[in-house]
Structure formats: structure tokens, C-alpha cells
């Protein structure tokens, strides 16, 4: 070799498989965007239910992160709290609670969500059901009274009444005449879980998530449309004094449909990956929600519906797994062409 005197060669460079460039959007940033999308609903809850919603949200987020940290510390696993997924779970759980819910009960909910549903199954990415949804359901079944005592919004609080019914509670009690107007429901001036009531704030969150490509619009759109269409058909068939269209909008705006469709049903881990499975999942969520609302004992069914579809997710994904490039007519044509080409080469 005729190396020059001062030439420095680099013979020990790093090698790795391509690609050598990755996106800057990591899990932490994704979770950050979900928190940002939750912010409008959080602000609306402060507006309608007062500062108590701040306390509950902060406690839930902190407790969730702490439970995850303690679990990982105790078991000597790498600490993953900084990926913010525990905070998202805590925030979503908090948004699902009435604003006057006792703090210690909320912490129990966080324990169920993080430790039992998420960490015991192997942590982020391994849980089969949405932690926040299961946390909420456990709280609902354990502390039914507290979970269904809804504080009135600030405009409606009077001297002798601080709690009231949700629109769906009124519907179940055959008291639709007292139900709030659609405008109040759209703006969130109704009883309900603190993050669920203000539809417009939730829609802002939905738009943020879709715009930043954090979620695909398929699941929320299918979910909400199914609820709308199903109730439209149902009330058109059964008849209602308010008219089918009013009742269909009522069902979309009431309860947890928009919140669930935006933040719970779209949870990556527990919703399908394949496009057609996503459609089936969204429609399934809507159908189960409406069946529970109309034919079962519970006035609201969004969380049960999402839990039910969470369990269905692996099945749906498996059934939809044949959607690849080249399947179908195009593949057949290509095969035929290749075969003919071979024959031509032979002869």
C-alpha cells in the first residue's frame, strides 16, 4: 500500500441495517399529542364543573404514573414512565368520572387500570383491554352510587339541587320531556362524566388527533355514524314524540359516544391494525353501544361496548389479514403473464 504519511483511514465505522434515518415521532410524542387533544375537554370540564376537575385529573395522572413506576421498580424492569402512556390512561380515566367523585376511589381505579390491566399483562403494548375503560367499569360496578351521582353544571346549580340525571338516565326513566336541548348537549351544559359532556371540545380533540395523523379517522367515524344510523332506524321504526332525527342526534351527543370514539376506541394497543378490521370494529362499537342503551338495564353502554370490541380485536385483525398489494385480479393477471412468458420461453 502506498499510504501517504498523514492519511487517516477510518476502518472501524459503525454498521447497521438500513434505514439509517428514523422519524422523530416516538411513543412519547404520540402520547403527548393525545394529552394535547384531551386539553379542550379538560378545559370544558373546569368551566362546567369547577376546579374540582383539576384536582381529580391531576391525581389520576400522578397516581397512574406512580403505580407504573412502583411496579417497574419493584420488579426490576426498565422504567417506562417517561413514555407518558400512564399519564394518558390516568387522564382518560379522570375524564370518565363525575367531577365530585371521591379522590381515593379514583386512585383505586388507577390501580386497576395500570397494575391489573396493563402491567400484569406485560406493560405497554401487551394489554388486551383498554386500561382506562376497565378502570372505569370496575369503579362503576364497585361504587355505583358515586359513579352515577352527577353534579350539575355551574349554570344549573340551585339552592336545593347540586346533582342531577344525565340525558341517558332521563331517557331510561322515560323522562325525555325533561331532557336538555341538543344545543346544551353539544356545548356540554349537561350532567355527566366531567370530560364527556362537551361535544364540541371533544370534536376539537378529534380533529387534532386526525390532523396530526395520531389516529386514523376510520374508527371514530364508523362508531359515531353507526350510533346515528342505528338510532335513526330504530326511532323511525318505533316512533318517538321528538322525531327520529332528534333522537339520533340525542344518542350521538349524550353519554360517552364521542369521547369513547375519540380517545378510548382508538387506543392503539386494543384496536385493530388492518383497515377493514377497523371498520368492523367501529361499527361493532356503535352497535353494542346502542343495543345496551336501548335493550339493557344500563342507561349507557359505551364503555362496555369498547371493552367488548377490545376482546374482539385479535379476531377482527386475523379475519382482515388478506388485504395485501397484489391479491385478487392483479395477482392473477401477473401470474398468468408469468406463466405464459415461461411457456413462450420453453417453446
Amino acid at each position: 500500500m502506498t499510504d501517504n504519511k498523514n492519511t487517516v483511514y477510518y476502518d472501524n465505522l459503525a454498521v447497521s441495517s438500513s434505514p439509517h434515518l428514523v422519524t422523530s415521532l416516538d411513543t412519547q410524542k404520540t402520547m403527548m399529542w393525545v394529552l394535547i387533544a384531551l386539553a379542550p375537554a379538560f378545559l370544558a370540564s373546569i368551566f362546567y364543573f369547577g376546579p374540582r376537575s383539576i384536582l381529580l385529573t391531576v391525581v389520576c395522572m400522578a397516581a397512574s404514573a406512580l403505580f407504573e413506576w412502583c411496579y417497574e421498580k419493584l420488579l426490576g424492569k426498565p422504567i417506562t414512565v417517561k413514555d407518558l402512556s400512564a399519564c394518558v390512561t390516568g387522564a382518560i380515566l379522570a375524564m370518565n368520572l363525575p367531577a365530585n367523585f371521591p379522590v381515593w376511589m379514583a386512585i383505586i381505579g388507577c390501580f386497576v387500570a395500570i397494575v391489573i390491566v396493563k402491567m400484569l399483562f406485560g406493560g405497554l403494548g401487551r394489554n388486551f383491554a383498554n386500561p382506562a375503560i376497565v378502570g372505569r367499569i370496575v369503579l362503576l360496578l364497585s361504587f355505583t352510587t358515586q359513579m352515577t351521582t352527577w353534579p350539575l353544571t355551574r349554570g344549573n346549580v340551585t339552592a336545593d339541587a347540586v346533582t342531577g340525571a344525565t340525558p341517558l338516565g332521563l331517557l331510561a326513566d322515560n323522562a325525555m320531556a325533561q331532557a336538555p336541548s341538543l344545543k346544551d348537549m353539544f356545548l356540554g351544559n349537561i350532567g355527566g362524566a366531567m370530560g364527556e359532556t362537551c361535544t364540541i371540545a371533544l370534536l376539537i380533540g378529534l380533529v387534532i388527533l386526525i390532523w396530526k395523523k395520531i389516529i386514523s379517522p376510520i374508527i371514530p367515524v364508523c362508531y359515531i355514524c353507526t350510533v346515528f344510523v342505528f338510532s335513526l332506524i330504530y326511532y323511525a321504526a318505533v316512533g318517538s314524540e321528538f322525531g327520529a332525527l332528534h333522537m339520533a342526534l340525542f344518542h350521538v351527543l349524550a353519554g360517552g359516544v364521542v369521547f369513547g370514539a375519540t380517545f378510548c376506541a382508538t387506543d392503539y394497543v386494543t384496536s385493530p391494525i388492518m383497515k377493514y378490521a377497523k371498520i368492523a370494529y367501529g361499527i361493532g362499537c356503535g352497535l353494542v353501544t346502542m343495543i345496551i342503551r336501548l335493550f339493557c338495564a344500563y342507561p349507557e353502554g359505551a364503555s362496555f361496548a369498547i371493552l367488548f370490541m377490545n376482546v374482539m380485536t385479535p379476531l377482527l385483525d386475523m379475519l382482515a389479514q388478506n388485504q395485501f398489494y397484489g391479491i385478487g385480479a392483479a395477482e392473477k393477471a401477473a401470474k398468468k403473464a408469468a406463466k405464459e412468458g415461461k411457456e413462450a420461453a420453453k417453446s
Binding site: 476502518d11 438500513s18 439509517h20 416516538d26 411513543t27
Partner: protein, 438 residues
């Protein structure tokens, strides 16, 4: 994909086309060139020269009797110093012919424009030129121009997409050798009986599209058209390009010619246009030199066989310690372990990254977000491949159609958990190949 979708999935990777405005410079002949004998897919060549032989520019120095090959030519004039064996980036060994340049660049007397008057003659001329696919695949080009189904209508698709970040050498070729591209394309179309040709160019290279449009309309050529593509990755992949231009689905293992398409890289076509005029075989290559470890990034015409170190020296040397040097772009390029390696025909870029720029964050847990699936141009399921590969389940890998994967790296790029999905796909494909050989 919903059937009938106009575009295949793609990702919006950063372009980093820092050198797009850098007009090409010609690198002076280095003292030493090491010309690799395996510069094409297929059989490596055997050296035709031995130590002490004198060679001239364009002289054939490597050839073989094997079917799938192209000959190798000397890029400098001088004396053969010896035949070396060097470990290559793939892990195997290459035979290198080391030539000490005399600086005179005397041209071999046998170099003259090729003369032929039929299609086999054209194919032979292309073969003699030593041309391989210059987009990166290094597939012998002459074989592409010799389809089994010659006589059927063929669409010529010239690939000027250059979707890889950082690389601008094709872009510069289109701006600086526009006429050669047109001449080369018309010649290919003439001998393949092709009535329509498209030059696919990503719409972030509007100046190249405009230049082609202007020249084509000035010369009254209507059968060759520009085809603007979305400026997204990986629009320049052969099978993606065929779908975008013709709407035809080209599966892995199917030759584009079977679908009536001939895809050729724009730099290959430009070389061909030049070769028809002067007969000088492929002995130099326009290469983009970039990366944050390089002092003066730019586009350089480099003699084949120049060592990467010398090329970077020409570009002002390293301004910081390189940690990773890539042959090709960051999405599909190969990381090499030493800068002593020589430039080969299919190099379109040398990127030298410092520790900061080559940093890839640590892998975290998969959150099943499905971004890898929606980023994949063929809508494959990389997370499914990873699970099946872990279980060494060959049947499942086949069911998921892993062999359709073209290793474009979109899944690894987009993964928020930074899983090395494309790498797992490669391992999975190797596993399937191994199993099918048993």
C-alpha cells in the same frame, strides 16, 4: 389498500436535498484506483490483467463466461499494481484490480462509437458498455433490454424519482445531461419497439421536469413524456413506480417486462445516450457526497474504483469524525465499515455521518399503532413478520407474503417505538429462502 387507489402508501421522509444546487465537479484522477470485479448482480468477473500490465482508459480488465454479468473497464491509464482480495460491505470478499494511475488518461485505441443495426446488436453494445442499473440495484442493463416477450407493446419508464433523502446525483444528471437522457431513451424505445415512454420525476424537482418538457416540445417528441410523481418515499422503487405510472401491479419475482414495462434509471439512460456518441464504457459515476462529517458536500464525477477516502478528501475532507459512512441513501443504503472501499458503478451517494446524525434511538415496546402497516407501499404487516420470525414460523411468514417486501425501510422509519422492522423483514426473508431450499 382500497382497490383502485391511485397511489400506493408512502411516507413523508425528510428530503435533505442539500446538494441539489451543487453543479457537478469532476474529481481529478487519484493515484490509486481499486476496481472491484463484482459490480453487478450475478457472477463476478475474472481479472484479464495481471501485475505489471499497462492499462489504458476504457480497456476491458474483467470479464467472465457466466451468463449474468457485465464486463469491467479500467477507469484510469497506468500500471496494474496487483490483484487484491478485500472484504466487502456484504460480508463476502471481492477481487479488486489495483491500478496506479500515470495521470495521462490515455484512451484505449479500441474505443469508438458502437455500430449495430438490429436489436441483438443493440443488446450486445449495451453489454459491452459495462452498464448496470445505476439506481442502486446493479442489475445488468443489457438483460433488461432483451425481454423474452420482445415484440409485445412495451412501456419505457425512466426512473428519475430519486426518492432517497440526501441524494441529488440523478437530479443533477437530469439538469446537466438532459439531451443524453432523451437520446438514450429514444434509442431504447427504437429497439424495443416501444411507442410510449415516461420519465417519472418527483415533483420536488420541478426544474428537471420543466427542462425535459421544454426540450421534448422543442424537438417535437411526443412519445416520450415527463410524469410528475408525489415527492414521497419510496416512489422510485421499481414496483411502486410501475404502479404509479401504468396502474399495473408488479409482484415480487415478476419481471417488469412480463407486464410490458421496461424500467431504467435516468442515469443509466443518460450514460447510454453518451455511450452511443463516443463509445466510452462506464468508467466514472456522478456521486453525491453529503453528510454532516463532510466539509464541502457536493456532486462529483468520480472514476470507478476511487477510494471513498480520496473522494471525501476531494470534497474538503472530514470536518468531524465520521461514525457511519453509507453507500447510497439513508433509507436503503449500506453502511460500510471502512473508507478504504472503492466506488462501484451503482454508487449514487456517499454519506458520511457523525455520531449525532447517525444516532438511532433505542427500541421501545410495540404499541400496535399499525403505522408500519399503513406506511408499507404493499400494505404488508411488519409487526406480524416480527412475531412470526421470532417463532421461526415459515408458514406464517409465507401467509403474510413476506417475500413481497422490498426492504424499502418505510416501516422502520415510521415506527414510533424505533423497532428495526426492515431488518427483521430481511432476516425473515432469509429464513423463508433457507426453508425453501431444504
Amino acid at each position: 389498500m382500497f382497490f383502485g387507489a391511485k397511489h400506493l402508501n408512502s411516507i413523508a421522509a425528510g428530503h435533505y436535498k442539500n446538494t441539489a444546487g451543487c453543479a457537478t465537479e469532476v474529481m481529478p484522477v487519484p493515484e490509486i484506483v481499486k476496481i472491484s470485479m463484482s459490480q453487478n448482480i450475478g457472477a463476478p468477473c475474472k481479472p484479464l490483467v495481471k501485475k505489471g500490465d499497462e492499462v489504458k482508459v476504457g480497456q476491458k480488465i474483467g470479464d467472465t463466461d457466466a451468463f449474468l454479468h457485465v464486463p469491467v473497464h479500467a477507469s484510469v491509464s497506468g500500471v496494474v499494481q496487483g490483484i487484491e482480495t478485500q472484504r466487502n460491505a456484504m460480508g463476502g470478499y471481492d477481487t479488486l484490480v489495483v491500478i496506479e494511475s500515470d495521470g495521462k488518461q490515455e484512451v484505449d485505441p479500441s474505443i469508438k462509437p458502437p455500430v449495430y443495426n438490429d436489436q441483438p446488436g443493440f443488446v450486445q453494445a449495451v453489454k459491452d458498455s459495462g452498464l448496470v442499473g445505476l439506481g442502486g440495484a446493479s442489475f445488468p442493463t443489457w438483460l433488461k433490454f432483451n425481454p423474452k416477450n420482445l415484440g409485445e407493446p412495451m412501456t419505457l419508464i425512466i426512473n428519475g424519482a430519486e426518492c432517497e433523502p440526501f441524494i441529488t446525483s440523478d437530479h443533477r444528471t437530469m439538469l446537466e445531461d438532459t439531451q443524453n437522457v432523451i437520446d438514450g431513451a429514444l434509442e431504447i424505445m427504437k429497439w424495443l419497439g416501444s411507442e410510449e415512454g415516461y420519465i417519472g420525476i418527483e415533483d420536488n424537482k420541478q426544474d428537471a421536469i420543466d427542462k425535459f418538457d421544454k426540450l421534448l416540445s422543442k424537438q417535437g417528441i411526443t412519445k416520450l413524456k415527463t410524469f410528475p410523481l408525489q415527492a414521497r418515499y419510496p416512489k422510485g422503487a421499481e414496483r411502486v413506480l410501475i404502479y404509479e405510472v401504468t396502474g399495473k401491479t408488479c409482484n415480487a419475482g415478476v419481471l417488469p417486462a412480463d407486464l410490458g414495462c421496461i424500467v431504467s434509471n435516468v442515469t443509466s439512460v443518460a450514460f447510454l445516450g453518451q455511450y452511443l456518441k463516443d463509445g466510452m464504457p462506464l468508467i466514472s459515476k456522478r456521486v453525491t457526497i453529503d453528510g454532516d462529517a463532510v466539509a464541502k458536500p457536493g456532486n462529483v464525477v468520480v472514476p470507478i474504483g476511487a477510494q471513498i477516502h480520496d473522494v471525501i478528501e476531494f470534497c474538503g475532507g472530514y470536518k468531524a469524525e465520521p461514525r457511519k459512512i453509507l453507500m447510497g441513501g439513508p433509507m436503503m443504503g449500506r453502511a460500510i465499515f471502512s473508507d478504504r472501499m472503492p466506488i462501484v458503478k451503482n454508487n449514487n451517494a456517499i454519506l458520511a455521518f457523525t455520531k449525532e446524525q447517525s444516532f438511532i434511538p433505542e427500541e421501545t415496546a410495540c404499541i400496535s399503532c399499525g403505522r408500519c402497516h399503513t406506511a408499507c407501499p404493499f400494505e404488508l404487516l411488519p409487526t406480524g413478520f416480527a412475531d412470526a420470525y421470532e417463532a421461526k414460523d415459515v408458514k406464517r411468514l409465507n401467509d403474510l407474503k413476506i417475500m413481497q417486501c422490498m426492504e424499502c425501510g418505510s416501516c422502520s422509519y415510521i415506527c414510533p417505538a424505533h423497532r428495526p422492522l426492515a431488518f427483521i423483514n430481511k432476516l425473515g426473508k432469509a429464513l423463508v429462502r433457507e426453508a425453501s431450499q431444504k
